[in-house]
Amino acid sequence: MPTDLVSANLAMGRVQIALIGCNHRTAPLELRERIVFTPEQAMRASDELRLSGTLEEALVLSTCNRSELYGVSPISNNDVQSVMERLLADFHGLAPAELDGRVYRENNTEAVRHLFRVASGLDSMLLGEAEILGQVREAYGRALEHGSTGPVLNRLFQSALEVGKRVRTETEVGTRPMSVAWAGVKLAEQVFGDLEGHEAVIIGAGSVAEKVVEHLRDRGIGRLVVVNRSRERAEDLARRMGGESADWATLETALAPADIIVTSVNAEGAITKAMLERVHEAHGGRALFVVDLGVPRNVEPAAASLYNLYLYNIDDLGEIVEQNRKAREAEVPRAESLITEHISKFEAWCSSVEAISMTGKLRDRLLKERTALLDERAEELSSLPAEERERILALTAELIERVVQTPNERLRRTRELRQRLAGIEALRDLFGLDSEDK
């Protein structure tokens, strides 16, 4: 990133990242739903923060589980965060006291770590959930298009998207099913592979059945049939999910072509072993996958002994989900180490930007010293012809450029050097560059 494109605070040599927010851990749903930002509101809020001079770059990330404001500030973060928190309350018509103890504040490295954890799904209610990465991408895309981000937030959010993707592909944090509905569908895939071209019959039209249907549809199931005692509810669910409905009286006929049967009705033993045996025969002996989510159980347990039939009940799936939850948690340290790696990269980038801006200040300082020296020696120089004086000016300017150019180039190219210069404050003090700002 060329120095001249870096925003004003970077030109001053400091990257200050501020974050405030509320999430499912700090605020109850009643409060979270009051501070949700629509995309338009998010743009308006970031404009307010930038136009008031509080932030140079701003981005609002708002999902059902979190509302967070990210910004790059030219002044101390504590003051900025107070302003950001006030805006969060004012924007949604809340009294500041309502946010007391509900808002978290993070600065610089910790703000970066927080965003990277969010993008990786480590800060989600359901560990490793995938939707958040898409939500971060969308929020960033909108802010970028709106022009409320700058070099720092662009770099920060691009890094967050990169680390989120890596955590998903290189760890198992987001791989295994974490709900019984999803576990049932994933198990069906372990039997049939691609679900396209297969048929599923859903018995029941309640919320559990709906979740299963959603997952089946997302996985590209070939045909969906919903059977329910109330035909209207079956039709409603089928219509919403792009399936068909069948009458309860024709249940066995509806089951005949099914590869997957999911049942979640309040009817103990509604599906008997004999019924499944007939269905299996009519089906040509092909594999049949049955998920019984009903309590009491809808499928006669003895049906599990039928050849080429796989029967799972809610306890079986519950155990799988619990096992998967533990497995996901065990992957968190690996995800954290990827995050730490990307934080180092981001900080190295910040250091390089700071270091490059510092060499710019060094150049200014040397040029100023040269001017002062030439002024001091003006009498001696006056005896020289104008042409010689011009040459001295040109030579000293070239000398300064050479002195500054080498470290500048090396800082641009060498990450290791930038890391060694992480304690760049020492250099700043050494050259007295801070006093220039003051």
Binding site: T169, V191, F192, G193, E281, A327
Partner: protein
């Protein structure tokens, strides 16, 4: 003989196994593609090794045990690669490439350091007979491996206690289809290979020696796999039962490859 091509193919097969295992773990398509490319490169390098050996011994490369085993490994790789491309399914690679790797490493360790006496020239029909039959054995070996994976996966699913690795295994349906395809390849090449053998023998000695134990066992193998294909598409036998039959059939193949070759037949020594 300098076996640089052979060692290079082992290294590339090892890389392919590593990438397939990584692909199984991460599901990263790029790594999967690298795995397939490594396997294809390994096959090319092993082909070069076989070619070099043919030039060295002035004959087809399968006249001794080393050559026969080496050709078997090569054809196993080729068959698997073909099935992978045909079924667009890479998750089995992590299970097949280690077999290939162990086999080819054993073969390389067993490789004779001195050139065997050049065998008598037997013509292209004989070469086709041996190559196609070896291809059939390789395809049957592959179907055996696929059936074993199927049985493990099926057992886990039936027990309703899938472990953590379970989610990375290929689906039952995929395993069954790949196994059937592999058996089809095996049966077709066995039919052609045996036919070429009969024609070659008739040209050589003017009669068919159908009473040779190797021929009888080979025809039995043909029948056993044909029965497998028939049962695998029938209502009561498809699935795990068919996989058991397929696995058992390979035991007969191994019997033919070892006991029959060494003790019961006169001229079918290494096929």
């Amino acid at each position: 003989m300098n076996n640089a091509w052979g060692y290079a193919s082992i290294a590339i097969y090892a890389a392919s196994f590593f990438c397939y295992a990584r692909f199984l773990y991460t599901n990263d398509r790029r790594i999967g593609r690298v795995a397939t490319m490594c396997l294809a490169l390994g096959i090319i390098l092993q082909y070069a090794a076989l070619l070099e050996r043919s030039r060295w011994i002035h004959s087809v490369p399968y006249d001794d045990l080393y050559g026969s085993m080496s050709l078997f490994a090569w054809l196993l790789g080729v068959t698997y690669l073909g099935l992978e491309v045909f079924h667009r399914q890479r998750s089995v690679g992590a299970f097949v490439t280690p077999i290939l790797l162990v086999w080819i490493s054993l073969v390389t360790l067993l490789a004779p350091r001195s050139a065997p006496a050049p065998p008598p020239a037997r013509g292209p029909l004989f070469a086709l007979h041996v190559t196609l039959n070896t291809l059939a054995y390789a395809a049957f070996a592959l179907s055996f491996a696929l059936s074993l994976i199927y049985l493990i996966q099926n057992r886990v699913l039936r027990a309703r206690r899938p472990g953590l690795v379970f989610w990375r295994f290929p689906a039952l349906d995929v395993l069954e289809r790949m196994s059937r395809s592999s058996v089809w390849v095996g049966l077709a090449s066995l039919a052609l290979g045996v036919s070429f053998g009969f024609v070659w023998e008739h040209r050589l000695i003017g009669r068919y020696s159908a009473a040779d134990p190797k021929v009888i066992v080979t025809l039995a193998i043909f029948g056993a796999y044909a029965i497998y294909l028939w049962l695998a598409s029938s209502a009561n036998w498809r699935g795990a039962r068919a996989a058991y039959i397929c696995a058992f059939n390979f035991v007969v193949v191994l019997f033919s490859y070892t006991v029959v070759n060494f003790y019961l037949t006169g001229f079918h020594r290494f096929m």
